[in-house]
Symmetry: C2
Subunit: 240 residues, 2 copies
Amino acid sequence: MTNPTAAMLVIGDEILSGRTRDANMHFLAGELTKHGIDMKEVRIVSDDAVAIKAAVLSLSDSYDQVFTSGGIGPTHDDITADCIAAAFGAGLGVRDDARAILQDHYDKMGTELNEARLRMARIPDGAQLIDNPVSAAPGFTIRNVHVMAGVPSVFQAMVASVLPTLTGGQPVLSQTLRVMRGEGDIAATLSALAAAFSDLSIGCYPFQKDGAYGANIVVRGTDGARIDAAMTQLAKEIDL
Amino acid sequence: MTNPTAAMLVIGDEILSGRTRDANMHFLAGELTKHGIDMKEVRIVSDDAVAIKAAVLSLSDSYDQVFTSGGIGPTHDDITADCIAAAFGAGLGVRDDARAILQDHYDKMGTELNEARLRMARIPDGAQLIDNPVSAAPGFTIRNVHVMAGVPSVFQAMVASVLPTLTGGQPVLSQTLRVMRGEGDIAATLSALAAAFSDLSIGCYPFQKDGAYGANIVVRGTDGARIDAAMTQLAKEIDL
């Protein structure tokens, strides 16, 4: 049985220009792995309607679940809802349930629900709202696409709202062996191990520290006993 | 005159699983911005031949320059060179100039150039080598695709080798105004400013700090005087 697949679409000029460092991808990757959903691809595109529409359609076709971050705020550069509605041929308008959530939130804060803020109540026809316990303005799910905010605290809260609603698979387990040896010295051993344990994924991630070569050898799979067996054989063959 | 465009392809299961946090994308984004090349898209794919080939062909078609990171080491999971050669229909074999670089490097270290390490001298036919002053094993450029290592120190050195060979455009300048106001309060002002300065890009990036709402307003463009004018008007209208 294979796990469900997922992709992420990050929308943001500020990341592509190097001004901001994305934090949401790393967070989502870890959460999906725990939930037994395999993240297969991430795309980062700019705040450009053509690029957003093309990417969301491509990812929605290719993977079981798609998560987007960014571009659903109140300002002129927040065009994600418009693009995703257009991509799926859905209408987009202020929806009563979303407006009520915002009205209640801003009433409590003593802040006016002005025209700009009301933009955040525009939801594509047929979408379900995603709860936002941090700042109220909801995300939404349309088809297999979950549209969420870019602010990390809000993104994380929305992921927590969505994930329990999705069918997960078997969580992927991993063990890591850190060795202070060059990759070239251990490559033949790893190659043989990968052949002997073809049900596991065996990765080798080199690093340099204080001028010396090392590598993290990561064994991944869904069967803990098989991973134990591979790690035992690995430790013996690498002769630590 | 528009700047040249670029995309990045990150190859790595370890990033998609959440085990490792990518550092290369943020570095490259900053370097390209300084060089006047506009990064338009980033894709992260797993160590999967079909996914790598499809992504590199798509990005190579769509953008002026493509930068890849990861998967060019000596171990069995390093399949990037094979995939990129196959994608472009180029042969792949150990090349004398690359072998000589490795031989020299490992001779100096007193290390054997074994079969695994020799994998790193396999270069697609017609490609140019990319200098690696950190750990010798070269990257390569084929067509408009620059294939580089995933280890951050090596990736950065290879970017430094490649960038001076590329035609840049006008560096994109930016100024940021940080305001402790909710996006919803300043959205109308920003929308009018964006219309008045349509030659600039005006982005608004919200944050929450100690329970209060704030936003970084970023004005970007290639003409410093225009950016100054927009920032002056912005400061007056936001009434700091």
